[in-house]
């Protein structure tokens, strides 16, 4: 069979990408980009204003000394970097596609491997092109709309409904296949979607670190451990009882048990979930999560819960990370305590993902081949998904500090030694802090503040924690609070390596999920039925009620 179809589609996609690269590098789409990337553009304008002022002064000084105007170049802003990245990516990828597109038009295909692999490229270009539109276009558009609607709705609908590139990629894929259908020239290459997803899942391991677990409170680890493992186990049990299918049950358990959408995406290839099962799981998690976001704060206020209790409950009981933050802010819009506690619990459950991935891989292999009757060890050796070992390997390397300091979490880490000179506190700022020493409530806060004054920077993570509560002491001078915040921000660093990995992971997921969305037809959705919604609803309710009881019984003023 000859696979390569003579079509100009690949060449056209390649040329379109090259044109987009040129428009970005020449500045012809700056107007559109400034709207799409509002935050980066706002930073850009600040950098520009500062540069203009410096340039004006330098020019005036040169003029007064009778010298020619100096040559100065503005430092690249985040906005410039974003445009440069779009140009670079589209030049590279578009160039490759254009060359291969020309080859497809001029070459007479012959039976063999080259024909097969060349025929895959147009389909890959199709999903990569759509992923570009989703990440660079739709994702920021919905982000802007979400923020614009806050005055009207009181909340960011794009954030709460997870309308980011993950969900939008699937939705666009579904629309493409159901409204337009996949063109013949792309059909072969769209099948690379799962490969992209698996590569992304392996790299996902670099974002986590076992050392970060040691930084979390014992209560959050124990509580989350019980509820994550409990809800995963409960979904697996119910799924089997209700005959929901192994892959559907497996992916739903990760989504309901761990951290929602991202866990479902990570677990999908582990249990060989079909695209329609991923869609159902994400739908269930989002519907349930958004419902919880509105119900939890009301119940929290009715029961008179404190910020620590509510944060612990929301971080344990709500299925998806986005809605955890939403519920915490809805409960306590001004204070940060609830959000902080909720995020500690949320991070703890996200860190359970590696354990769940391995559990599900073994569970799926066992149940899929009926391994109860055969040697489980042999079955695991023969069937265990190798890419999960890659994920675990990356997680292990990350935990050993191969990519970033070992105690990082998703690339963010504390270091007192990497604080630059210009980020150290100024003498007038330390004087300001000295005046606030008497207002500290605990010895830990006083010690941390004294240390900050002496060293002009935060020197340990313990002091950083104490300073966070010091910053919220009643009656504290707002300027002093701003100084403490500045010191806190200076001590936390973003790893460039992990940032680059995150970018790769985002692209691999965007491309993979767009392609998977193209496998979801209306017929397949009907066939999948409503079982995931029922199982997800029951387990979600049990988890929410169970965690509420545990929180009310055991959580007081400590975490």
């Amino acid at each position: 069979m000859i696979y390569t179809k003579k079509s100009p589609a690949l060449l056209i996609i390649g040329i379109l990408m090259l044109v987009w690269g040129f428009l970005n590098s020449s500045g012809n789409v700056d107007g559109m980009q400034s709207w799409l990337q509002q935050s980066a553009y706002s930073d850009h304008m600040k950098v520009k204003e500062k540069f203009d002022a410096e340039f004006r002064v330098a020019k005036e000084m040169a003029a007064s000394e009778g010298k020619p105007a100096p040559v100065m170049k503005m430092a690249a802003s985040r906005f410039d970097h974003a445009k440069a990245e779009q140009a670079k990516l589209t030049y590279i990828v578009g160039g490759i596609f254009a060359v291969l597109g020309l080859l497809i038009l001029v070459w007479t295909p012959k039976l063999g491997d080259f024909d097969y692999y060349l025929s895959i490229v147009p389909g890959m270009a199709f999903i990569v092109g759509i992923a570009f539109v989703v990440r660079w276009g739709l994702d920021p558009i919905f982000g802007n709309w979400g923020k614009a609607a806050i005055p009207l709705l009181g909340w960011d609908f794009a954030h709460i409904f997870n309308l980011n590139y993950v969900v939008l990629g699937i939705v666009i894929g579904i629309i493409t296949v159901n409204v337009f259908s996949i063109p013949g020239w792309a059909a072969n290459g769209v099948r690379t979607a799962r490969f992209f997803l698996k590569t992304g899942v392996i790299l996902l391991g670099v974002l986590y670190s076992a050392a970060e677990l040691a930084q979390l409170g014992a209560l959050s680890v124990v509580m989350i451990g019980i509820f994550v493992l409990g809800s995963v186990g409960m979904v697996l049990y119910m799924g089997r009882r209700m005959d929901a299918g192994n892959s559907m049950t497996g992916i739903l358990s990760a989504g309901v048990g761990v951290c929602g959408v991202s866990a479902a995406v990570a677990a999908a290839p582990v249990v060989q979930a079909k695209a329609v099962e991923i869609a159902y799981t994400i739908g269930t998690i989002l519907v349930w999560g958004v419902g919880c976001m509105f119900v939890f704060p009301t119940i929290g206020h009715l029961l008179g819960m404190g910020p620590v209790q509510f944060g612990a409950w929301a971080g344990t009981g709500i299925l998806n990370s986005a809605q955890v933050a939403g519920a915490a802010l809805a409960f306590d819009p001004t204070g940060i305590e609830t959000l902080k506690v909720a995020e500690i619990f949320n991070i703890t459950r996200v860190l359970f993902l590696p354990i769940i991935v391995v559990w599900l891989a073994a569970w799926y292999v066992k149940h899929e081949v009926g391994a109860e009757k055969v040697d489980l060890k042999q079955v695991l050796i023969a069937k265990f998904p190798v890419f999960v070992l890659g994920f675990i390997g990356m997680f292990a390397l990350s935990s050993m500090g191969a990519f970033s300091p070992a105690d990082h979490y998703q690339g963010k880490y504390f270091s007192a030694t990497e604080i630059k000179e210009d980020k150290l506190l100024k003498p007038k700022e330390t004087v300001l802090l000295e005046a606030e020493l008497a207002k500290m409530k605990t010895p830990a806060e006083t010690a941390a503040l004294k240390d900050l004054i002496a060293n002009r920077k935060v020197t340990s993570r313990v002091h950083d924690g104490a300073l966070l509560s010091a910053g919220k002491v009643a009656g504290l001078d707002p300027l002093a609070k701003a100084v403490i915040d500045k010191a806190h921000n200076a001590a936390w660093h973003n790893s460039k390596t992990i940032g680059a990995f995150r970018n790769w992971i985002a692209w691999l997921f965007a491309i993979g999920l767009t392609g998977l969305g193209m496998q979801i037809t209306a017929k397949a959705l009907k066939q999948a039925g409503g079982k995931p919604l029922i199982i997800g609803g029951i387990v979600g309710t049990v988890k929410a009620l169970g965690s509420l009881i545990v929180v009310l019984l055991f959580v007081r003023e400590f975490v």
Partner: protein, 42 residues
């Protein structure tokens, strides 16, 4: 997409077996990781 549409691979993958797809993904991930470590500083 129907299974019979493709003589090679399956309706969901260009690879004939899951293990092969896993290994392909593993190689791709390692190459990306080496590239990131090589080109991007900490």
């Amino acid at each position: 997409m129907e299974e019979k549409q493709f003589e090679r691979g399956t309706s969901l993958s260009i690879f004939a077996a899951d293990r092969r797809e896993d290994l392909g993904a593993l190689i791709a991930a390692i190459l990306i990781a080496i590239g990131v470590m090589f080109f991007v500083g900490k």
